[in-house]
Each structure stands twice: as structure tokens, then as C-alpha cells.
Amino acid sequence: MTLTTSGGQRLLWLLLAACLAALPASAQTPDDEFRAVLAELREASFSDKESIADKLIATSHMSARPVLTALLEDRLFVRSQDQQIFIVSSTEESRTQYELIDPVSLSRAGSAPVDELTKIGTNNRLRRFLRITIARGALANPDPDVRRAAVRELLRSLDASAIELLRQRKTEETDARVLYEIDTALALATLDDGDAAARVAAVQTLSERLSPEVRNRLAALIERNDDGSFAESDEGVRVAAAAAIETIDTARSLYSGVETLFFGLSLGSVLVLVAIGLAITFGVMGVINMAHGELMMLGAYTTYVVQTALPGYIEWSVLIAVPAAFLVAGLAGVLIERTIIRFLYGRPLETLLATFGVSLILQQLVRTVFSANNRSVITPSWMSGTLPINDALSITYNRLYIVIFSLIVFGLLLAVLKRTRLGLDIRAVSQNRAMARAMGIRSEWVDAMTFGLGAGIAGVAGVALSQLTNVGPNLGQSYIIDSFMVVVFGGVGNLWGTLIGGISLGVINKLLEPYAGAVLGKILVLVVLILFIQRRPRGLFPQTGRAAEAA
């Protein structure tokens, strides 16, 4: 181990030394050379620009591709005053000043008014040439993702040179996913110029693809021209294309079903997360905590405070906020229990009113401290973005993490209740308070801890919500009815009921949405729930035995 490390280190040092030795000579030349070639662009004709582009690539300077991309996208400008060439970051029409980027170092170089800049123009031929040139560079990139993106870019508008480039690449390519994209592109190309048999084979290859471009291209095959003749002359190709479209549509609708299901699952796990704290306070203790939503709000604001206090640790902020929010909301919960709720045990309706009062006070407290405006909570970069599964299905990371997170919280809570001393005490007190006290359990302490546990989990849910919705004083209100619905639906006093209830409500909601719209879907779910409670007043999984009698 030590040997390898030192060997590696020595190699590293050698390399570094070599670089340092080469530096004085090469540090000047490539940049200057690049800049010199670039300067030729100012006065070149369109055909000259092609050869200049080739030269730029030939310098193998790291700025070559960004510059050519900028040229392709009409973002390469000459500044009138000193004839310097700059890349412009964005050419939105509303702007009067363009942000300038130095084309060699790619660092910011101030800004300039629009009318002091002259665009370096392109024509169709040059653009096609640039596209191919850039793609060729990208296809040689060691990162397979860059290569895939390049193939996809070429696939949008195929021409002879692009096809040639892809054919050539296919022989060298080793990555299966890049090959897959190349096959798609080549099959699309074959549709234009292959013979009938080759076209049928191409259609068959394409029938396994899911992207909308492929489907549109196949659909064009079976369309009729204005004069009534088919766009595709060969009968066999048309039949194959029709079959391929059907295959693609079936697969796409399957994946969109999977996507809906996943949306439902993620909504369901949000519901589980917001309801599970309530399942403790309402289900186990029988306390209606209308301030539950506001405890979640406290958790969300804790996330905000953590991010404000530790601006250097945004990536970690959510992970730091989870225990912090648990503590903040949990302590608030213990405080509420000790000062208010303990006087109201056995009077559920009064508890409901008093905790509602607490919720109003907490809302106003947050308005006083943080103002009534929404606070912006930053999403860490590892939580944003999507995980592409295929062309028809991609999963956003934040939804994925919410599902995982709520399952973890559920598992931990279950473990606390089933495996710890506190859990044992909680269950004992909720089943038979008098007997538990006789056994020496301090029921008052257990009450406070139980309520604190439920409240703390509400705070943890708030951290998750801060990544999904606006963090404002009304955050809690919008979830409180949903969370009660989940608990009532699943059956009071049953954590598994809450899990299944929450997830099925989420899935039902998302399944209804395409047909009924978001709002009407929600109304339908509420109405169905109201009817459901009439049929099964104690929820999906009612408590049985003595606990049920006592409730």
C-alpha cells in the first residue's frame, strides 16, 4: 500500500516537474497563437472562416470549442473601439448591455453597450460546418456523456457529412450507450437513402427507440402527401413503420404510467412525512394538534436559518438542518405540551381549539421575526437535476430523495417505538395509562416525550417541505388538512396505516390528475375520503382489541 502510494507520488512529482519545465515556453505560445488565429476572424469571408475554424481546432486550445460554439450561436462579437473579439454570455433582446467573456481565458471581461459591438456573422453553410466541427471534437471527447450529447445534437438535423462522421465514429466507439445513439442516427439516415429492405431494417431498429424525434420521423413515413400518394413509396416499409409506431406508443404510455406512479409515490411520501408526526400525537396520544402544520413551518425556517448562518456549507445545509429542525420543533412541542395540552387530556375538542390558537401565535411569531414574505431556501446541487432513465422517463432527484427520506424517517420512528425503552413506555401509556403508572412509568414524562417526538418529526418534515414549496408563514396551513386526512384514512394509532394511507392517497391523487385536473382531482379525493369514512369510520386499519375500546 505504502509502496504504491509513494510510487504514485513520485510519478506525480515527475509529471509536475515536466509541466513546470514546459511552462515558460508553452504558456506564452498557445494563447498568443490562439489569439492570432482568432483575430483573423474579424475580416474573413465565410469560406475563410471555415479554414480559420479548422486552425482554431488544430491549436487544441481549451477555448477552441467554446469560441466555435459561440460563433455558431451568434454570440461572438467585435468591440468597435479596440477591434477585440469577445464572447457574449447572452444576447437576449431586452438587454442593452452585453456581458463580455474573454475568448482565450474564458473569464469575465466586463460589459459593453449593444451598439458598440459588431457580430461576427455566419451563413447556413458555415453553421453546418461549425456544427460538424464541434461535434467531431465532442465525439473524440473521453467522457461518454459528452459523446452521447454530441450524437443527439447531430441527430436533430442529419446531413451527408454528419452521417459520414457518425459512420466513422461507429467503428471506434466502445461505449454501448453512445453506440445505441449512433445506431438511432444511422437508422434515421437510412430511412432517407437506403433501399427498401434496408429501410425496413432501419424501421425495426427505430421501433425500440422512445424519443419523440424518432416517433415523428416514423409518423411522417405513413402520412400522405397533398396529392394523395404516400410519403413513403414502399408498402412493406409503411407496414413496418405503422407497427413500429404502435410499439413505441405502447412503450411510451407504459413509461408515462410509470412516471405518474412515481409522481404519486413521491407525493404520497410527502404526505406520509407530514402525517407521520401527527400519527404519533393524534394516533398514539389522542391529541388533536392543529399546530402540527406550524411545527413543520418551524422546521422549514430552521433550514433557512441554517443556510443563512452557514453560507459556506450550502451542500450540507439540508443534512445539518434535519437534526436541528428535530430539536427546534421537538422543544417547541414539549413546551406546548407542558404549558397547554397537559391540562386538556381527555377533552379532544378543547385541545383542538387551544392548539389552533397556538398555531395562530406561531404563524404571527414567524411573521414578526422573519417578515410575512416567503424566504428562499437554496436547493443543494446534489438534490437538483434529473436522473434520466430513457428518452421517455426521467426522475428528478429531489423527488427521489424525498421518497427515500420519508422511508428512512418512517423506519427510524418504527424502530424507536418498537425497539427502545421510550417506545415501550409510549406504547404502555397509550394502551393503559393507569397500569403503566402502577408499573412505575412516569406517564407525564412519557406524554411530554411522545409529543416532543411527534413535533420533532413534524420539524423534520418541514426540512423536506422547504425543498418543495415556498417557506412562508402559511406553509403549515396548506398541509394540515391533508395530513389529518392521511391519518384518518389510514386508521388512527397505526403507523403502517399512515404509510399505506399516505402513499395510496398520493398515487390516487396523481392518477386522477390527468383526467380531472389538479384542483378537481383534489376535491374528488376529499369527497371520496368523506364517503370512505362513512363506510369505515375507523380507517383502513382500525385498531382492534382493548385499545380500540378505550379510544
Binding site: I288, L353, G357, I361, P537
Partner: protein
């Protein structure tokens, strides 16, 4: 809960009713006179703003009595009574919208402005008949009654009680709010109805019309108080109280608990609907925010502040809390929610019988 309920005062001495009705009579006579007959320069003059405010409080008092009837006497904590109130208000609003006629912004003879705006060409079927006052008044009672009947029939038959029932009523109100927020429901979306012109041909902006509305509201409040009092003092009223205190025992004694609960619930919903119908022409607007769950909960706190199971206490609580709200939201807006929250907590902890519970036992007549 039943332990507390058992200690609630069963106070129906005529003296209290007399006091309550006399105060109402004084309001009905004095406020319009001070508004119409006394010149604005006089310090005794009651401005139109105050007149409207009093009318609003009276409507809230009626709603509070409706809630007190079912919560204070039957033990059903409804967190959805604002929905019945709003439905009555919407029925009245539909009549008032039809009365606008060609005076709307778009001047369409039949369609209200918001429908023209949405490019609708025909009046939806559920708007038929609302150009007639008697029909609209019928709907003010019928719509809340039918909803309460259907909901109550389902809920009480399957013995959904206590907290479950409260949450269900809240969900009902929430679902209605979401529905009324939708533009294509045909109820004006989130803007609701406003810009009313006249009622039965009388201009709503006139002080005379407003004064008459106030007198009508007082009459309606007095009438609902008397009917509720008659109900709770009757033999059926004793059964209702028995249900509150020991539902199972009442059932075992052979009473049909579900029917009693259902009819009290429906009657209470009708009273709430009428209150809403009187509220809308005086306030001049109705929109879906009236369905918000917090409104229903606020009604419950009015009743709790005034005193559950007293009827007059509920009415007084409504007036008091709303006066406090008017005062605080104008003078110290940021304090109001603290105050309301503190009222919720304080009343439930320290005043389980409300302000009525503070009255000396002798004056409670029992």
C-alpha cells in the same frame, strides 16, 4: 368533554331572553334612527360604516347561535359551518348578480360580467330562477339544508363522532373552497360576486336600504334565537342534551339518536345559510375565502368565548370577538393573530364556560 358539558349552565330563564331581545330591539330602533334622522354633524350620528359593521356583527351572531345549537347542546363540533354560511351567501349573491342586469361592465342583459369575460354564451342551468327573489330565498335555506342532510345522514348513520366528525366537516368546507375557487364552476372563481346594485328594486348604497337590512337582520337573529331556545327547552331539546352528555346511553334508552342529530344539524345549517344571505348584501361581496377552514374555527371560538350552551352567550361572543378584531386589525394589525391565538388558548384553559360562566349564579336564574 362530557364532564365539562355536564357542568354547563342550563340557563333559559326568561330574564336572559328578555335582556337579549331587548338589546336587539334597542339596536333595531336606535341605530337606524341615529343614522338616518340625526345629522352627520351631531356627535350622536351613527355613520354608514358603523351601521354596516353592526349589521355584520349581527349576521355573525346568528352564525354563532347556529354553531352553539349543535355544539353547545348536541356536542357536535362542526368545523364547517362557515361553508353553510357561505352557501347561503352565494345564493343571495346569485340573486343580486342577476339584478345587476344591463348595468354591468359588459351590459349583458342575462349573463353576469364574469361569464361574459369567460366567453360563456348561455346561463348555466343552476343559475335559472335566481332572478326571482322568492326562489333565491328558498335556495338560501334549501342548499345548506340539503348539503347538511346528505352529509349528516352519511356521518351520523355510520356513527362518525367527535374529532373525526370535526375533521370531516373541515374537509368538506375545504373541498367546497377549492371548488368555488375554480372559474369553470360558474361562481365567479376567486373574485366571487361583487358590485351589487339593488335588492328588490332598492339601491344597496342608500342608507335607508341598509337600515332596513339591519332591521331585517335583527328580526332574523331574534327569530332564530327564539326558535333555538324553543327547541332546547322542548322535550326534544332534553333528548339532544342527553345525546351530548351520554350518546350511547340515550341510544340504549330507545331514542333514535341519528334522527335527532340529523335534524338539529340541518336546522343549524339553515340558520347559518340565512345569516350568510343577510351578510352578503350588507358587506357587498362574497368570494370563496368565506369557505376557508379558519373561518369555521373562528366561529367556534366566538361561541367558546361567549359561553357554550347559552345561545345569548354565543351571540355576545361573536359581537365581542369581532369588535376586537375590527379594533386590532385597524390599530395594531400585527397583534391581532397573537390576541386571537391567546383567546383560543386562554378560553379553553381558564374559561371553559366562557364569559357567560363568569356571571353570578343568581343572575343565571338557576
Amino acid at each position: 368533554m362530557s364532564a365539562i358539558a355536564g357542568r354547563l349552565p342550563l340557563s333559559f330563564s326568561d330574564r336572559e331572553s328578555l335582556w337579549f331581545l331587548s338589546i336587539l330591539a334597542v339596536i333595531a330602533i336606535a341605530v337606524p334612527i341615529l343614522n338616518l334622522a340625526v345629522p352627520p354633524s351631531s356627535p350622536l350620528h351613527v355613520s354608514t360604516y358603523v351601521l354596516t359593521l353592526v349589521g355584520k356583527y349581527l349576521c355573525y351572531a346568528m352564525l354563532a347561535i347556529a354553531v352553539d345549537l349543535i355544539w353547545g347542546f348536541c356536542g357536535i363540533l362542526s368545523l364547517g359551518h362557515a361553508a353553510f354560511f357561505a352557501l347561503g351567501g352565494y345564493a343571495m349573491g346569485m340573486y343580486l348578480m342577476r339584478q345587476i342586469g344591463t348595468r354591468g361592465v359588459y351590459g349583458h342583459p342575462v349573463l353576469p360580467d364574469f361569464m361574459v369575460f369567460l366567453n360563456w354564451t348561455d346561463l348555466p342551468w343552476f343559475w335559472y330562477g335566481f332572478d326571482r327573489f322568492w326562489f333565491a330565498m328558498l335556495m338560501v335555506a334549501v342548499v345548506p339544508a340539503v348539503l347538511a342532510y346528505v352529509f349528516g345522514w352519511l356521518a351520523f348513520r355510520s356513527r362518525v363522532t367527535g374529532v373525526y366528525l370535526s375533521i370531516m366537516t373541515q374537509a368538506l368546507s375545504y373541498a367546497l373552497m377549492l371548488a368555488f375557487f375554480r372559474n369553470d364552476m360558474g361562481f365567479g372563481g376567486n373574485n366571487g360576486f361583487t358590485d351589487f346594485k339593488d335588492i328588490l328594486g332598492f339601491d344597496l348604497q342608500q342608507d335607508t336600504t341598509r337600515s332596513v337590512l339591519l332591521v331585517v337582520t335583527v328580526a332574523a337573529l331574534a327569530a332564530s334565537y327564539c326558535v333555538c331556545r324553543a327547541i332546547v327547552a322542548s322535550r326534544a331539546g332534553r333528548v339532544i342534551r342527553a345525546i351530548r352528555d351520554a350518546e350511547s346511553r340515550t341510544r340504549f334508552l330507545g331514542y333514535r339518536v341519528e334522527s335527532y342529530k340529523l335534524w338539529v344539524f340541518v336546522f343549524s345549517a339553515v340558520v347559518a345559510g340565512v345569516a350568510g344571505a343577510l351578510y352578503v348584501p350588507q358587506v357587498g361581496i362574497i368570494n370563496p375565502s368565506e369557505f376557508e377552514p379558519i373561518n369555521s374555527i373562528e366561529v367556534v371560538i366566538w361561541v367558546a368565548v361567549g359561553g357554550r350552551g347559552t345561545l345569548f352567550g354565543a351571540a355576545a361572543g361573536a359581537a365581542l370577538v369581532n369588535y376586537a378584531k375590527t379594533y386590532f386589525t385597524a390599530a395594531l394589525p400585527e397583534v391581532w393573530l397573537y390576541a386571537l391565538g391567546a383567546i383560543f388558548v386562554g378560553v379553553t384553559l381558564f374559561l371553559p364556560r366562557g364569559l357567560a360562566g363568569l356571571m353570578p349564579a343568581a343572575s343565571r336564574g338557576k
